[in-house]
């Protein structure tokens, strides 16, 4: 194709997006669009999979049968989200194997929030309430993103995420209505998860790359700082409802702007965790890579069996 032809295709492509048409796997797309989507979608899928670990840590110790069932179901949903997102990603011509390789080799990123440890049961509440809450704010706009398979996956994901968020809030509510020990547990979890949750919404706009292009492709519709403000504005009243104190002495409603002002985020910590030095980065990767390596013989067996079965079927046909 000549440069001119490509340019032409690109124009048609951008116009389709501008008209809110969905791009489908078989449609022509610029290489950069494909790559950016693979990066973002796989990062999202990896986050779901790695995100199973901190919550999985409490399945064996959930305090009641009802909570155990709910937690299992939630972690299973996350695996399901991973599955949709990997499948959506595969429509862009990359295999699951390659995507895993990128994760396991450290080439691909996943959400840094999962590099914090889950220390008490209340963390199951805080993760649902805050982490899923921040995730939803990030994700709702993606339900109308330009790439069809991603948009459709996100519609399913968001529906389940908001269920998880309510479930997390309900865990916190129960704790905050409980004994002093339970209240302390809830407050402690909020103290530990608050700042990392704010960081989840990404670096400040000044530090953020890719934003303009992503806006055009509807991979992003609001800036990180806008999303963060939205999250804070939405969450503070919920904390009040729980009778919990957000660990930010500078947090204050600003009558003029109609938003909450808040304190300085420790970006040094943010970058430290992103760069692989958070409390659990090593553990998460060891767990993932370990599971994958220990499972190699199982995957090989499944492949060998499928091959044998196919060969037998062929033989029967030709016989």
């Amino acid at each position: 194709m000549s440069d001119k032809e490509v340019k032409n295709l690109e124009e048609i492509f951008e116009a389709r997006i501008a008209r809110d048409e969905k791009i489908e796997p078989k449609d022509w797309m610029p290489e950069k669009y494909r790559k950016t989507h693979i990066r973002q979608m796989s990062q999202h899928a990896h986050s779901e999979i790695v995100g199973m670990l901190p919550e999985g840590n409490w399945i064996s110790r959930a305090p009641s049968l009802r909570r155990k069932v709910a937690l299992l179901a939630k972690v299973q949903d996350e695996a399901g989200h991973g599955l949709y997102l990997y499948s959506a990603c595969e429509t862009l011509g990359i295999s699951r194997e390659e995507l895993y390789d990128q994760l396991h080799s450290g080439k691909a990123k996943y959400s840094s929030i999962f590099n914090y440890p889950t220390v008490t049961w209340a963390d199951m509440g805080a993760i649902g309430w805050l982490v899923d809450g921040a995730a939803i704010i990030n994700q709702v706009p993606l339900c109308s993103t330009s790439y069809g398979p991603y948009a459709r996956a996100m519609i399913r994901v968001c529906k389940e995420e908001s269920f998880h968020q309510r479930q997390g809030f309900e865990i916190m509510l129960k704790l905050s209505q409980g004994t002093q020990e339970q209240k302390d547990m809830a407050q402690d979890a909020l103290n530990r998860w608050w700042w990392p949750s704010l960081m989840m919404l990404g670096p400040t706009d000044a530090e953020s790359v890719h934003t303009e292009q992503s806006m055009k492709w509807k991979l992003k519709r609001k800036s990180n700082d806008e999303l963060r403000q939205q999250f804070i504005d939405q969450t503070v009243p919920q904390a009040d409802l729980l009778g919990l104190t957000i660990p930010d002495p500078d947090l204050k409603f600003n009558e003029e702007t109609g938003h909450y002002d808040f304190g300085e985020i420790d970006w040094e910590e943010f970058w430290q965790v992103v760069k692989g030095h958070g409390p659990c980065n090593k553990k998460r990767m060891k767990d993932r890579v370990g599971a994958w390596e220990r499972g190699a013989w199982v995957r090989d067996a499944a492949m060998a069996y499928a091959d044998k079965k196919e060969a037998r079927a062929k033989k029967r046909k030709t016989a």
Partner: protein
């Protein structure tokens, strides 16, 4: 029913439910650590089904005991080890995916045949739980027996590994059919399942799959038992120390 009969029914319910409880717990440990996303989801799903069944049995068991302190959670989390009635099979560790599948396979075949009979229980609640559960369990059985075939008839390595797991766990299968005094009483009343009557079908059912999977049927006739009398393997204490952790550390609280 007389008090004695209610007590036997209560014990009978715990005997059934504890198998699902401990197996569900074992599967829950694996969540996020499976060999693939698909198997991870499937095993979590089985765990979920089992815990769902546990809740039905325990809620019923709590209801028929005249003691406000007995709830589904006190039954699940606040008994001492000697009071759990599960068979030894279900507490065996997740040594690897082969052991996990073999344990599941040996249990699912029993569970399926057992529930098929329990559907005919004179106790309507039990019959209803069985009816609901059997759909789930027939899926579990399909999953585990498919994997027995894949591993047995997959690569040489997978064949050897699943054969080892089958050999090691075989000795726990006989206990599935043991009958405690409460079991016998419930069978006599048409409430419980006569496990001896399904034993032959069981070994036929698993033998067929093992053979199709090109696996050797273990010959050992030495069987292990004890779980149904509350004498568990050394694994059990560690299962319970995690499982009961929250309820023991923070007693009398709502979650």
């Amino acid at each position: 029913m007389s008090t004695g009969q209610l007590e036997d029914l209560h014990k009978y319910l715990l005997g059934i439910a504890d198998n699902s409880l401990i197996l569900g717990q074992r599967l829950g440990e694996l969540c996020g650590h499976g060999p693939s996303l698909e198997t991870d989801i499937a095993l979590t799903n089985i765990s979920l089904d089992l815990f769902g069944q546990v809740r039905s049995y325990f809620q019923y068991a709590a209801q028929i005991i005249a003691d406000d302190k007995v709830t589904e959670d006190s039954l699940a989390f606040l008994r001492i080890e000697r009071e759990y009635r599960n068979v030894l099979l279900v507490e065996q560790p997740n040594t690897d995916f082969g052991y996990t599948i073999a344990r599941q396979f040996f249990f699912d075949a029993f569970h399926f045949l057992f529930l098929k009979e329990l559907e005919n229980s004179k106790d309507e609640t039990l019959a209803a739980i069985a009816k609901k559960s059997i759909k789930e369990v027939s899926y579990h059985w399909r999953f585990s027996s498919d994997w027995i075939k894949r591993l047995g008839d997959g690569t040489q390595e997978s064949h050897d590994r699943i054969q080892e797991a089958v050999n090691d766990l075989w000795m726990y299968t006989d206990e599935l059919f043991h009958q405690t005094d409460a079991d016998k009483e419930m069978i006599a009343q048409g409430i419980g399942v006569d496990t001896l009557a399904i034993k032959k079908s069981y070994y036929k059912m698993i033998t067929e799959v093992l053979e199709e999977a090109t696996l050797a049927i273990p010959e050992s006739k030495y069987w292990h038992k004890g779980g149904k009398q509350g004498i568990h393997s050394e694994h059990m204490g560690y299962i319970l120390s995690d499982m009961q952790y929250m309820q023991r550390t923070y007693p009398n609280m709502e979650w």
